[in-house]
């Protein structure tokens, strides 16, 4: 092939490199800390359906969450991370509480998009406006919607936080406290 037929789109190359960089960091972190299995559950508290679309794309070939040791799980009982979209609709409180409550400790809440930050709906009779009013949020991923790459970056931060939480647990006293 003659040299003039090799065309490199530098903008694309940059995006690809950026993806790879974030992905590699995330993979290393999950491998080191969670032995290749960190499980994610999602919950929608009134999104416009677009944040869901970006979350679903995390398992698409371009991003491929599985190769990084992260998996989606349908059951909150198997989940380490809860990804929450939407402005925290009041009518949904009970379902959200049950989902969060079903997750084992240590667990983490990642708020996805501008909605749970209060950037789309103000607090009113319909919505809490900010997710923090109902759940302890560990990581916010801003954007309307955040792109899958931003979501990966957010997960990377979350994995670090989860590791801190695991480190802070005093497993030796667990159970003793509950003894009569």
């Amino acid at each position: 092939m003659s040299p003039d037929r090799v065309r490199i789109d530098r903008r694309r190359l940059h995006v690809v490199r950026e993806e790879e960089r974030v992905a590699a960091k995330l993979r290393d972190a999950t491998q080191r800390m969670f032995g290749r299995s960190l499980h994610i559950r999602t919950v929608d508290t009134g999104s416009c359906a677009v944040c869901e679309s970006e979350i679903r794309l995390l398992s698409a070939p371009h991003y491929d969450l599985h190769r990084l040791g992260l998996f989606f799980t349908p059951s909150p009982r198997h989940a380490d991370l809860l990804l929450v979209t939407g402005p925290a609709i009041r009518a949904f409180d009970r379902a959200l509480e049950k989902t969060y409550g079903a997750m084992p400790e240590p667990k983490l809440v990642v708020a996805i998009g501008a909605c749970p930050l209060g950037g789309v709906y103000q607090e009113d009779e319909f919505v809490h406006g900010q997710l923090e009013r109902v759940l302890p949020v560990d990581v916010f991923v801003p954007g309307c919607p955040p792109s899958p790459l931003a979501l990966l970056q957010g997960l990377l931060v979350a994995v670090g936080r989860l590791a801190e939480k695991v480190g802070a647990e005093d497993f030796t006293t667990l159970g003793e406290e509950e003894a009569p």
Binding site: V43, D44, E52, E54, L57, P61, T73, P74, A91, A95
Partner: protein, 488 residues
């Protein structure tokens, strides 16, 4: 009547029933919307008919004093959802003793729960099937927290374990009071909210809003700017239909097809970002025009190869028996039902309804270009997929043609006007209607009716028609509706 008009007719309450009888029996007349608004402390009801062959929308209004209005759904069954809605939002029902469903008011909601008008004297009970139904059937509760990356909604599936006997949906979990929120807002803020009412139809719903507002203010954007809007609308259809194909592959367990589809979907979203600066085309529209310049070069160079990838995928899918077998005769909506329930968009077209607002009520750039409308007769999942594939080809052609004619950006000034108008657009989910009443540029009442509202109406029928439990996911994928759009 010339193309793309909406006329308004004031009726006496006594004449409503005979009017509805006459309209519902006229061939080519489609029930499109039905809603209330409070004007001078009075409830006024509006009914929108689409006369597709005559290229006209007819808005009929009458004051609903005292007893309300005659039960329209008896003559026009499509009106049932809106009857329920008017009851829970304004407390007025179509005659005594009518069984209405609950739509967006959550259970255990206080009487003071915010609504558009006064709360009804008695709240409707939630639809419910007992867990032990009869014989071997039981209700399988699914939701509101459903699969990963799926919207919240409750599905009550009545099943014997395999066969699906009945199904009902509860969608109040996502009600954000969009129409109530819009009251008193300026037009720019209203557009921001409408785009996010159903983000996957941001351009479709947003353009309908812009058109209503521009009509009231008597301004129209430059043709080149309208072409940019057209490109955005076609790109929205492209990525949505691609996403539906991905969902179809996923629901039939076709992992390779799903991955291939996701590649196309991601390419289309990146194309959106390259052309308009946003993966889901938020913020492209502005009242009076567009706010983002379109990169026509990016479109011309990237869309054709992406379509080639799509075509390879579709060819492979059509020759994969394990895929096609699941689609055939699955989730049938008969042409009669599609007409009876006033369905719109690809679902209606897959069930023999030859309708498309871009052609029948041509607006903006579609006045100058011909739109091919694919129609299929069988009404099953296969027909819906086939319609979507054909529409993608047409959308790609339209986007390239429009771009070839030159794209513009910028806005004309929209003066703060007073008055009301109906705006419409063909979103990926079908006809989207936005009726707006402005008072010096501020919204007095905005009625948001995305295509999803009409089409969810046929989901239970489709699901019940000789299907088994595992077909539900396939049918849902082929409908490709949003809960956000209905529960807005």
């Amino acid at each position: 009547m010339s193309a793309d008009t909406a006329s308004t007719l004031l009726l006496d309450r006594m004449d409503v029933e005979s009017h509805v009888q006459a309209m519902a029996q006229t061939p080519g007349v489609r029930f499109a919307d039905f809603f209330g608004s409070i004007e001078d402390d009075q409830l006024v009801i509006r009914l929108v008919w689409a006369l597709d062959r005559e290229h006209e929308y007819r808005v009929v209004r009458w004051p609903a004093r005292g007893t309300g209005y005659p039960p329209l759904s008896e003559v026009a069954p499509a009106a049932f959802v809106e009857e329920c809605e008017i009851y829970e939002q304004f407390g007025v029902s179509p005659g005594k003793g009518r069984a209405l469903n609950r739509l967006v008011i959550p259970p255990r909601a206080e009487h003071s729960f915010p609504r558009l008008g006064t709360a009804p004297a008695r709240e409707r009970p939630l639809p419910h099937a007992s867990h032990y139904v009869s014989g071997d059937a039981f209700e399988f509760p699914f939701g509101p927290v459903r699969g990963v990356g799926q919207e919240s909604m409750y599905m009550g599936l009545v099943t014997s374990g395999e066969e699906l006997i009945d199904l009902y949906l509860l969608q109040w979990h996502k009600h954000r009071g969009i129409e109530r929120r819009l009251r008193g807002e300026g037009v720019a803020r209203a557009l921001f909210v409408v785009e996010r009412a159903e983000g996957l139809s941001a351009v479709g719903n947003g353009w309908a809003l812009c058109r209503a507002v521009e009509e009231i203010a008597e301004v129209s954007p430059h043709p080149a700017v309208n072409r940019s809007r057209g490109v955005a609308l076609e790109l929205e259809r492209l990525y949505n239909h691609a996403a539906a194909i991905v969902a179809l592959c996923q629901s039939t367990g076709l992992a390779v097809g799903q991955a291939q589809g996701e590649i196309v979907l991601e390419q289309l979203l990146r194309l959106n970002a390259a052309v308009f600066g946003h993966r889901y085309l938020f913020g492209v529209l502005a009242p009076g025009g567009t706010s983002r310049a379109a990169d026509a070069d990016a479109l011309m160079t990237t869309l054709p190869p992406t379509m080639d990838t799509l075509r390879r995928l579709v060819d492979a899918l059509w020759t994969t028996n394990s895929f096609v077998d699941r689609l055939e005769s699955c989730g049938i909506v008969t042409p009669a039902d599609a007409a009876r329930l006033g369905l719109v968009g690809p679902i209606a077209r897959a069930s023999g309804q030859d309708i498309d607002t871009r052609r029948d009520h041509a607006f903006g750039p579609y006045r100058d270009v011909a739109v091919e409308v694919p129609v299929r007769a069988t009404g099953d999942v296969m027909a819906r997929m086939s319609v979507m594939v054909a529409e993608m080809e047409e959308s790609a052609r339209l986007a390239l043609d429009l771009a070839g004619a030159g794209l513009g950006t910028g806005t004309v000034e929209v003066p703060p006007a007073t008055g009301s108008a109906l705006g419409w657009c063909e979103s990926p989910r079908g006809e989207s209607l936005l009726w707006v009443d402005l008072d010096a540029g501020r919204i007095r009442r905005a009625r948001v009716r995305p295509g999803s509202v009409r089409n969810w109406r046929s989901f239970d029928d489709a699901a019940r028609s000789r299907n088994v439990f595992t077909d539900i996911a396939i049918i849902e994928a082929s409908f490709w509706l949003t809960v956000a759009g209905l529960a807005r």
